[in-house]
Assembly symmetry: C2
Homo-oligomer: 149 residues x 2
DNA sequence: CATAGTGTTACTATTATGGTAACACATTCG
DNA sequence: CGAATGTGTTACCATAATAGTAACACTATG
């Protein structure tokens, strides 16, 4: 099983908001770039806003803006906002047999091992910001002002 | 979504095999320690054998043994054997809009970012072996010879 | 030949994901 | 004030993955 596409789409959204330079973008507009339904975008925006990464303005002329500078939003922030905040690895679904010494102790050991692996992953995500992504997108191709609205 | 419990159970299995010290253990026995159905164990053993981590002996008196010394089986080997060998992160399900510069370039950027994160996770797993797990299980509690058979 | 054990498929229940529809609520503008 | 615009959230649905159980062909031993 893989980490869902929510992370990828959320990074996409935040990068779009950075190209908007403070001007509110609608979920309709962002859905066009992401090639999905606006309700999907809204669901994610709800999580991003809850995590303090975006701010929405309701009503006519509304939309969403970044709540923080792009250079202050790490990909770890995004991951934590849209994916589970808990363990990445599932351990045994049924409690292993405590009568067996391996069964009795294996989960504690696994928790440490998998926790370290997850921490390494998050640490790597922490080293990249939405501003970095923006710069890389620009380097991949010329970032014109935006898609025609 | 999380990484399935297959990884945890596979590590459990390999650790058990290490306590067997070369003597074949049956899936029935291991299922007892893991507290699951033997068919689940067999499914995982099939993957582990395919990855060259275990060797099975069929027929009466059969069972499974480690195909390599525990100190030469890393948790990354296990992860690769039982979970997907491909990307850990899913990207967009539909191709983003190529008319938008962000849409056009975001996936390449995301591939690099998520690939680096996954590599960090695997690198961490690579630093731990089944022998290490065995030692930690022993440190958590006294490893008696084994569960009564 | 009977027994023990592997390897694999099929079935099932459950859960998570992601797309779409619907609509209450909030805000702006004429 | 009403219409229009846009958010936030829930519900529904189809699909995919997981993990437990059942079943059974195949393999090897005594």
């Amino acid at each position: 099983m893989t980490i869902s596409s929510r992370f990828a789409v959320a990074v996409h959204i935040l990068t779009l908001l950075e190209t908007g330079r403070g001007e509110p973008l609608t979920s309709e507009y962002m859905a066009g770039s992401v090639n999905t339904n606006p309700a999907v975008i809204r669901r994610l925006l709800s999580l991003l806003a809850r995590a303090g990464l975006t701010r929405a303005r309701m009503g006519a002329g509304g939309g969403t803006v970044l709540a923080r500078p792009a250079a202050e939003i790490t990909l770890r922030d995004v991951y934590r906002a849209v994916e589970c905040e808990g363990p990445l690895f599932s351990l045994h679904h049924e409690r292993p047999n405590p009568k067996c010494p391996v069964g009795r102790n294996i989960q504690a050991v696994l928790e440490r091992a998998t926790g370290a692996a997850q921490a390494a992953l998050e640490e790597q995500l922490r080293g990249r910001t939405v501003a970095d992504v923006m710069a890389e997108v620009a380097a991949e191709g010329r970032v014109a002002p935006a898609m025609p609205r």
